[in-house]
Amino acid sequence: MESLATSLVQAVPALSAVPLWSLTLLFTVAVAAVVLTFALTYAGLATYVERKVAGDIQARIGPNRVGPVGLLQFLADGIKLILKEDIIPAKADRFLFALAPYLVFIGSFAAFVVIPFGVGLIASDLNIGIYYVMAVTSLVVVGVLLAGWSSNNKWALLGGMRACAQIVSYEVPVGMALLPAVLIAGSLSLQDIVRSQGGLLGIFGWNLFHNPFTFFSFFLYYVAALAETNRTPFDIPEAESELVAGYHVEYTGIRFAFFFLAEYGDMFVVSALATACFLGGWHIPFLSAAALSPLWGNLLSLGVFLGKTLFLVFVMMWIRWTLPRLRVDQLMRMSWKYLVPMTFFNLLGVSVWLLAFHGRGIPQLIASMLGR
């Protein structure tokens, strides 16, 4: 942000009287506001889309009363949730009970900061991007556990415990499955990872097609990420038919809305990571975004990035309305006996591949062969 502020001061000399830190702060707040607005709008619309998808799959219509084709349903729901009475159970731990939703919310939405939406559209290009996402989304675990524990409800406690065990277990395969992208790019920055996938018509540079191991890595990551976001078939922490609603069973009104938004925020974050690490991020197929004018380049790349990410979100919804859920022990088994060994194997495979072919993927090899 500071660099942006400096460049602004250089561009508009009149501003040089204003202290640099206040400009920086202004920028930071503005960017945060934009990202948060985007995130909340997205989360609201995602609930609408989720219900529409469910409706379509189940041969129903879905929300169709508020606004055209029910588009404003999420606003109505949001207003309803805000206006609802905020109930704190009598024997709950009031402080922790109130704190938990914020932790979950922050954990989920702070990750938006490093998501590379476009060529230059990134709130903060941290050089430890992936690392930051992994760390910050771990806050969700703390929040969920606190929510489950402080509600003083046995279902909530069970839900919190399950969520904790689940997210901690699945952090391992998620991290391991993302590492191939890091290896290929040689950087933890998400923007660098995306840039490393350019070239070759904007499609064949994707890490997905880099080599067989990355190909599998993507699916492993996707499955593990599903589990990390507590989506069906891994939604055992909230399993409505077993634990009623799991860790947020006692939450009402806006606090419940926070959990709800955080879930959809999480979905976006993991899908965005998948897009950035495996599906070429904002790279526009058959075009070079960097070569376009900044405005068009940014807009187009934003569109492409959102398209890819939202498609992955949609697939998550599709999966949710198809599959039953696993049992808690099966979930653990799946993580430790299937996903973890396979991601390790993949990581090894990618490393060997990079060593053997000097960092070049299959498409590059083919291209170089054809080129000669």
Binding site: V53, G55, D56, I57, Q58, A59, R60, I61, N64, W318, I319, W321, T322, L323, Y338
Partner: protein, 238 residues
Amino acid sequence: MGLVAYLADIWEAVATTAKGMRITAGYGIDPRETITQEYPEERREPSERFRGFLFNDIQRCTSCTMCIRACPIDCITLESIRGADKKLKLVSYDINIGRCMYCGLCVEVCPPKSLTHSSGYEMASTERGELILHFVHEDPEEIKARVAKQVAEAAAKAEAEKKAAESEKPADESARASGEAKTAGPPAGTAGEEKKEAPAPAFAARNPGTDAERKPPPPAPAPEGNGNAPGGEGEKTE
């Protein structure tokens, strides 16, 4: 678990998931599969035999109380009075729709087929009293008075005729004059039930609470034990 079994396990999971997702996607894409009816705008036509709210055509009703006898839960109450033409006149005919379970037994036994199921089924209400259907809309006291008057007139007329014809049998005149029809003559209309129904509120039913509750000063609510009466006057919604 051998490696082959391990991989086969994974493959089965992926394959069955894909199969399921193909089916759900099929339904998701196919617009013909949407079966929702958008209710208040779109309604399905109830079938011919649909058992909706009960409806009693009081013009045809003979006050035979067969429906009351058939009803397993006593949701029908009826009060009748013997008119000048020796037929029973309905004073009130109420059905507690909140209690009715739409079994249709009353409709089946109705001899003049005056009691029928309508096709109505929408009657949300916030008041229990609104769930009592009244089929006689006049004030029961008025009907009683009118019928009594008619009976008295008829009796007077008959007496006059009788006197004119110098007929015999002046036996039951005094009873007639009292206005509350007490039938000694042959039954008109329904068969067999008359003996029981002779006293003025001809309703011989299971619920003793009804008549008491109909009196103008609203009595304390009857205990739920015989609470087949459709509430007291306070709940009436006319």
